[in-house]
């Protein structure tokens, strides 16, 4: 098998579900129907092309990224409070976008890059910077990686977060120079401490402009030649002892940065580094020597030529290897995968931010709180290296503990029971009827619901247990058909739901449901 070869034949339903669970947050019955018979490339091209989302707004529907900091408040403390609220609004806005199955692909990719080029909202403390940073990420997510690295290096939020804005000729600050090599482009072990210092010197002179400035809505970054170290910088043998000549003038910062990024990219490890990170995000947490040789390396060779992300990611996600049965269930779902995937799979109606603002705010607020408890709050990574399972191989398991299992279970319980805490209702009866081929047969029903929810196969004992204990609870199997056939009678609909809800609640608490 050529691992990187494109899977050209139309995808089976299970493959479509797999594609959606991995490249977005989850798969729904409606999507499986809509995408029936498509190829992987068709899916990629459809799902990856969505327009940029409308900007975040306050509860009154007005935008705030285009105002002075904390405007219209005038008191410093009130501005601060308002900015805190608005930064929360941005997080909720993003969760709202993730809930939309049409945007799942785009948001999962945006999340990947936000977790790659980490900044933390609580550190940024200016919602306009935060919003602009997210725009930088969205704009470049499938673009050219060289442009991406340069844009993010000069992004005002990043200049604040990793102290680039404090990095000057007389007072160099190494923070960004180190992370640029260690976390963003190359990885540990391929640069020296002296390279960190030289990189910091190349990066001197950049400034974030109008940070927390209430008087103006214009924010930007700027290069100040006078604060730039204009002596030459000499790198280690990791970079063939490359010398970057000091460039005077206003273009000096751009020129030296471009030259340094090219120097880093000339290191063969840099392309592999990005391919591996995408692999841990979309494929699995383990990278064997075989995967390294047959998949990572050939893709890295291609990526090295032009650093174009679209062809790279497209080739990865439409490859034969992506659909390899040995990778099914090869991920433990992250908290966001789990939460969003549960909403998507059960086909909760997507709330309209414009028409149902209060409900929308309640729901996204609730989800923000829950994902925070599960230790995956968007834009608040615990450290600059992001969530560990994607930084390092072999760490998916840390998402699972007694506490997180409890929190996950409580979320799906609430979702199915329709306790109205989310402001959306799941009708399990309608849901089952929409895709189960022969719902009057309890075994077929359970097997097909399993197939919709799970990435891996059940055992016969599990199916039997689900049919006899969770669904039928003691009544003989042959009576189920009669119950189901009568379901159109108004009186029996609730009886049916009373049987389906415990089944689905129970299934959503199974170990298999934690996998993607």
């Amino acid at each position: 098998m050529a691992w990187t070869a494109t899977r050209t034949q139309p995808l089976a339903p299970a493959d479509i579900a797999h594609f959606l669970r991995r490249t977005a947050f989850g798969a729904s019955p409606a999507q499986l129907k809509a995408y029936k018979g498509r190829t992987a490339a068709e899916l990629f091209d459809t799902l990856s092309k969505v327009p940029a989302p409308p900007p975040p707004t306050d509860s009154d529907g007005k935008t705030f990224h285009d105002l002075g900091w904390g405007a219209p408040e005038t008191d410093q403390q009130k501005r601060n409070q308002l900015d805190n609220q608005r930064r929360l609004q941005v997080k909720k806005w993003w969760l709202g976008l993730m809930l939309d199955p049409q945007r799942g692909f785009a948001e999962k990719l945006t999340l990947f890059w936000q977790n790659h080029f980490v900044t933390e909202s609580d550190t940024i403390q200016d919602v306009r910077f935060q919003h602009r940073y997210l725009e930088t990420i969205r704009r470049n997510a499938l673009g050219n990686f060289r442009t991406f690295v340069i844009d993010i290096t000069q992004d005002p939020a990043m200049l604040r977060y990793l102290n680039g804005t404090e990095n000057t000729k007389d007072k160099p600050n190494e923070n960004y120079g180190r992370e640029l090599m260690e976390l963003f482009t190359l990885g540990r072990g391929f640069y020296t401490e002296s390279d960190v210092k030289e990189a910091a010197r190349v990066l001197t002179g950049w400034k974030a402009i109008n940070y927390r400035n209430a008087m103006t809505e214009v924010i930007s970054s700027r290069f100040l030649a006078g604060q730039h170290d204009q002596d030459k910088k000499i790198f280690s043998e990791n970079f063939q002892n490359k010398t970057i000549e000091g460039r005077p003038g206003d273009k000096g910062g751009d020129l030296e940065l471009g030259e340094m990024v090219d120097m880093i990219f000339a290191h063969p490890e840099s392309a592999r580094f990005i391919v591996r990170k995408l692999y841990r995000w979309y494929f699995t947490g383990e990278i064997s020597d075989e995967v390294e040789k047959n998949f990572i390396e050939p893709l890295a060779v291609g990526f090295r030529k032009d650093r174009e992300l679209n062809p790279l990611i497209r080739q990865m996600l439409t490859s034969d290897h992506f659909f390899d049965p040995a990778l099914r269930g090869g991920q433990i779902r992250s908290p966001l995968d789990f939460v969003m995937g549960s909403f998507v799979a059960l086909e909760n109606p997507v709330l309209s931010r414009e028409k149902e603002r209060e409900k929308y705010d309640n729901l996204t607020n609730n989800l923000l709180y829950r994902t925070k408890l599960m230790e995956m709050e968007v834009m608040e990574q615990p450290t600059v290296f992001g969530w560990r399972p994607y930084y390092d191989t072999g760490y998916y398991k840390i998402w699972i503990s007694g506490t997180t299992l409890g929190l996950r279970g409580s979320l799906t319980d609430t979702l199915v029971s329709g306790a109205n805490r989310f402001g959306v209702e799941v009708d399990t009866l309608e849901w089952v009827a929409s895709f189960v081929s022969e719902p009057g047969d309890p075994l077929v029903l359970v097997r097909e619901v399993w197939g919709m929810l799970m990435a891996v196969e059940p055992s016969q004992a599990q199916l039997d247990n689900l049919v006899d204990d969770a669904l039928l609870d003691g009544i003989p199997r042959y009576e189920w058909k009669e119950i189901w056939d009568k379901y159109k009678d108004k009186g029996l609909e609730d009886d049916l739901r009373n049987r389906l809800n415990p089944l689905i609640t129970y299934m959503l608490r199974l170990a298999e449901y934690q996998l993607a």
Partner: protein
């Protein structure tokens, strides 16, 4: 070198000639006199608890424990963030160093004999990457990429063989380790899986956890899925099994009222104390305080963090003490690295090398281990190491958990790390007030009497031989400030009598003929 001349030299230089395990008599067998036990020396090793506080981000050690003996250089190399000498908090019997002004709680603990500072801790060939450095500390391995388990995970798996199979059981009904968080640290990863139960809220844990899995999973899962399903199921099973224990402990243990508000660390330690009070036999608790990556404007940030650290720790120990549980607990802080000795231009500090570690709680015997960082001999502007961090791990394992040497070596991946005397007495001949204690007769044959200043209450008395072993002897209290030691059953040789009172520690030589 003959021991005698070694001792004499040392007495002049006040170095650390020899040390002895000072945890108390019971550690050394059944012969301990009832008097010593009644003094509440130390609980059984099985009941001892370790609390680990991770200071995430790289704590600036040089502004935490401040080198009062080198203030000139200190002020010069970090003028924009240096702490004023007058504000530095003083340490008892230690003029060379003091504490950051916001560590008032630590000063109290130190001067009360409940805190030990191990200076300049780190490891050779330091990593300046947060990630890698954390991993090195978690795993206890200088080259951590090939090690998948953490040092505490390895210790607990060694201590509780076969875990998680057959657990919980009568010998260990409780989680081996608890982290107050939703996800557990790499330090608690055993060779197979985490040995920790990660808990955020003890009150809701049992309610949320649900049921354990009923039917077996498919036998045809691929290798990856099989591993993950297996893992999730074992977490479900264990959590269900532990949920009731936790619930019971949480409802029995009450929260002490005196914890500082708005303190992220105190919130976690409050839960820990409640579980200890509730009777859990969990060996290790793990809590974290983040935000130490102070590259810019660090004065306010660091001040706030250290305040949280000291206030939370002090409240925690006081809470335990009020409940008479303090003799079960020690704690340790660690941070992945210290920061550069020279400050940067942003009134912050970049990633550095060695930094001090704090050990607090019961059984502390040596309070300041090592020297202030040598600011005139920096290594590329970094503070050189004096102690390997695994020496601190080894000390906790050897002396607090009483793990045998071979096991300690295995837990520390085969390395031999010399124990630092956190829990061992440092015998020097320069202790200030020993003349105030009288031992007679001396030399003695069958018994010796010990008299100390009136008004001081006895906490502990020990007879120590020259190889550092404590010799159990019957002790009888005669007066409020006098005891008699029964010497009939011990070897005829030279000893040191160590006497600890509510005010001080005294030592006198005693020859038994």
């Amino acid at each position: 070198m003959k021991r005698r001349s070694f001792l004499r030299t040392s007495s002049l230089t006040a170095l650390l000639p020899w040390t002895l395990n000072g945890l108390g008599a019971r550690a050394f067998g059944q012969e301990a006199s009832s008097f010593l036990s009644a003094l509440g020396t130390t609980v059984d090793a099985n009941d001892r608890v370790l609390v680990v506080i991770q200071l995430n981000g790289g704590n600036d050690g040089l502004n935490t424990v401040i080198p009062l003996d080198q203030m000139g250089t200190y002020q010069k190399i970090r003028a924009n963030i240096a702490i004023e000498e007058a504000k530095v908090l003083k340490l008892r019997y230690r003029e060379q160093a003091g504490l950051h002004p916001s560590l008032k709680g630590f000063q109290d603990l130190y001067n009360d004999g409940r805190l030990s500072i191990v200076e300049n801790v780190g490891y050779e060939n330091p990593s300046f990457s947060h990630f890698q450095a954390n991993d090195i500390w978690f795993k206890g391995d200088g080259t951590p990429n090939d090690t998948t388990s953490g040092w505490l995970g390895r210790y607990l798996e060694e201590r509780f063989a076969g875990y998680p199979n057959g657990y919980p059981n009568d010998q260990m009904p409780d989680p081996l380790a608890i982290q107050i968080s939703a996800v557990a640290s790499t330090a608690l990863l055993g060779p197979k899986q985490s040995v920790a139960l990660a808990i955020q809220d003890v009150d809701t844990f049992a309610r949320l956890i649900g049921e354990k899995p009923a039917a077996p999973p498919s036998p045809n899962l691929n290798a990856l899925a099989n591993d993950y399903v297996d893992f999730v199921r074992s977490q479900q099973t264990l959590s269900v099994a532990y949920a009731d224990q936790l619930k019971a402990a949480a409802s029995k243990g009450t929260t002490g009222a005196s914890y500082p508000a708005g303190n992220r660390l105190a919130d976690q330690l409050k839960v820990v104390s409640r579980l200890i009070k509730g009777g859990l036999r969990t060996k290790v608790y793990y809590v974290t305080l983040g935000g130490f990556d102070t590259h810019a404007n660090q004065l306010i940030l660091h001040n706030n963090l250290l305040t949280q650290l000291a206030e939370a720790t002090k409240a925690f120990l006081d809470d335990l003490k009020a409940n008479k549980l303090d003799d079960r607990v020690v704690g340790m802080t660690f941070s992945e690295f210290g920061r550069r000795a020279y400050s940067n231009g942003s009134a912050g500090t970049d990633h550095g090398w060695a930094s001090p570690q704090f050990v607090f709680g019961h059984g502390i015997k040596t309070q300041f281990i090592g020297n202030s960082p040598d600011l005139s001999n920096l290594v590329k502007n970094n503070i050189a190491i004096e102690h390997d961090f695994r020496q601190v791990y080894a000390s906790l394992l050897r002396d607090w958990f009483e793990v045998d040497e071979a096991t300690v070596r295995a837990v520390l991946l085969g390395g031999d790390y010399e124990v630092v005397p956190i829990f061992r007495e440092t015998i020097t001949a320069v202790e200030p007030t020993s003349e105030m204690v009288v031992v007679y007769p001396n030399p003695a044959t069958t018994e010796a009497r010990l008299v100390w200043p009136t008004g001081e209450e006895l906490k502990q008395v020990e007879l120590v031989d020259l190889s550092g072993r404590i010799q159990p002897v019957p002790v009888q209290l005669l007066e409020k400030n006098e005891v008699v030691l029964d010497l009939r059953r011990i070897q005829r040789t030279q000893y040191v009598v160590r006497l600890q009172t509510t005010r001080s520690v005294y030592s006198r030589k005693l020859l038994v003929q």
